[in-house]
Amino acid sequence: MTMALLRRLGSSLLSLALLVTLVFFMIYATPGGPAYSILGVHATPTAVASLNRQMGLDHPIWRQYLTWWGHLLHGNLGYSFTQHAPVADLMGSYLHNTLLLDAVAATAAIALAVVLGLLQGARSRDLGRVIGAGQIIGYSLPTFFVGTILILVFAADLAWLPPGGLGDTARSPGLASLWRHLTLPAITLALPLAAGLSRYFGHQVRDEYRQDYVRAAQARGLGPLRIACGHVLRNAVRPLVTVIGMMIPYLFVGGVLTESVFDYPGLGWLLWRSALEQDYPTLTAIVLLIGVLTILGNLAADLANTLLDVRVRYD
């Protein structure tokens, strides 16, 4: 088991290294070369030339590649000329906001998926079909459409909730305001996620319900609720952990769209702005960060899965 763990860790590290390399070549391929990508498209030719010399960008590519690694390992992600701040400093608060939104949305989505999946898998065929239709609609709904409709209804028409942003945290701090600002984006982000997860989980539950042990539990006189929560859920939930790991990329994708709809100051919003303003250093740094987080997330999911699986744990 230790060997398997080490191998899994090694493969993640290799993926990380390849990711960094990939992003390096992506910048290298940007029009105007890496100097533009660091200075931005609005840089003057003299500035580019001086930066090239200064940063050793006139060196052969392998040396630049090593320099790129060196900068990364020192946490130096470049300087954003549009935001006038080092990219690394810039990302802190945005990352924090994104993680907050993602955590809320993911929790809501998982809870909803487990309830829906159990209902769908457990018994009633008609209910299962209704939920099934809801799922396919749920993950066909584009995030940005749901977001704009939610704003239209709940913020503009009913004026129950703020249309976006995170509020002025300095002026009106407090959890209540935070929740009010988080509600609509979190629903938007969680909806398709819950649809996809519950579909997967529903299939899992249905497969479990076909197992002999369910009938055996019925024959022992256990009630449906006890069978669902004490037995079926336990067996069906393990594969769900891996899927939760796989939903991290989705959270970022949905995050970009959701955050831009709601003007939520998160990583996705920053990515969108820096793409529009062609702020390449920030763009690169975020892509890299998202890649790293995805790889780590998958690793974490795999580890959790290993720990949860009694069969692996005890053998």
Binding site: R215, A216, R220, G221, H231, R234, N235, Y314
Partner: protein, 325 residues
């Protein structure tokens, strides 16, 4: 409960497809009883309705199959009129079920002691610790001293024979009067088979259990059961004392079943085969359902369905076999 109340009393049980009225009944007019301390063996081919009967007793018929008629009494209480909720209290408490494949019938990610304790607490209440102790005592009783200690074990950590013992302990969790064992040894190898059946027989004697032993193996039935009931295509064709049954079966089907059993050492005789196939659920017929395959068949067999008659054993045949061949 007095000694003369049967632990299980089934009469006129008829099971059929809920949606398809043109198909014949899957189990037709089946009646039998099992006294405390007695083992009744159900013998029949696949599809003869023996497992369905067990499911009907537990009120757990698969979707699409319905009980059309008949009554089922356990310990003198009619179960067919109970609501599903009330019936649930009977399952596991007054009757236990042992499945064919213990690996799939045990919940894979719940510890075995926890499963036994859970069953006990659902029916009898009490503290978690008391239920745990009870679970360990039961595991010891079925010969699993090794796993009757903490920590709890998971089913996949046990061997096939051990799992089936756990299954038995699980069925016994609440001291039921009746155990139904549905092909309990089919998934096990031969040596373990004997151990498991010996264990069931021992518990039957010690605890005065009524046991319904479902099997397709006539030899096992003859060896362990007190009485044997032979099912063919959903109908009881012969029922009688295990000893006389094996020596002098009256129904041609029973005899054919017996003659298809190989003996050790081999007699050198060819094993008898039964020509043809048992009827499917959509094959309708008049007269005796074994007639197309029967060596003793006459014209009247194809017209009249034989009723149960009593002559030494109970059997349903117009032209039974006579004497001991």
């Amino acid at each position: 409960m007095t000694a003369d109340t049967p632990a299980l009393f089934v009469s006129g049980l008829t099971l059929g497809l809920a949606r398809d009225r043109s198909a014949r009944a899957l189990v037709e007019d089946l009646s039998f009883d099992v006294a405390p301390g007695e083992m009744l063996a159900f013998v029949g081919e696949s599809g003869s309705g023996k497992s369905l009967t067990a499911a009907a007793i537990f009120g757990l018929l698969p979707l699409g199959i319905r009980r059309m008629a008949g009554s089922i009494c356990v310990n003198g209480t009619e179960l067919t009129t109970l609501s599903d909720r009330r019936l649930r209290a009977w399952r596991g408490r007054d009757m236990g079920l042992i499945f064919q494949n213990p690996l799939t019938a045990l919940s894979p990610s719940v510890g075995i002691q926890a499963q036994i304790a859970e069953t006990y607490r659902v029916h009898k209440g009490g503290t978690r610790d008391a239920a745990r102790l009870r679970a360990r005592a039961l595991l010891t009783e079925v010969g699993l001293q090794a796993v009757a200690t903490p920590p709890d074990r998971y089913p996949h950590q046990l061997s096939g024979g051990m799992r089936q013992r756990v299954m038995i302990a699980l069925a016994l969790a609440c001291d039921p009067a009746l155990i139904i064992a549905d092909e309990p040894t089919t998934a096990l190898d031969v040596l373990i088979q004997a151990q498991i059946l010996d264990l069931i027989a021992r518990l039957q004697k010690e605890r005065g259990l009524a046991v319904v032993f479902i099997t397709h193996d006539l030899r096992l039935a003859a060896r362990y059961a007190d009485r044997i009931l032979v099912l063919y295509a959903g109908r009881a064709v012969e029922e009688g004392d295990a000893g006389t049954f094996f020596t002098a079966p009256r129904h041609p089907y029973s005899r054919a079943l017996r003659d298809a059993v190989p003996t050790i050492p081999a007699t050198g005789r060819r094993l008898a085969e039964i020509p043809g196939q048992p009827p499917g659920p959509r094959d309708l017929f008049e007269g005796c359902r074994f007639a197309p395959r029967c060596p003793n068949v006459r014209d009247d067999c194809r017209r009249t369905e034989p009723a149960m008659t009593f002559d030494g054993t109970r059997f349903a045949c117009l032209h039974p076999c006579v004497g001991t061949p």
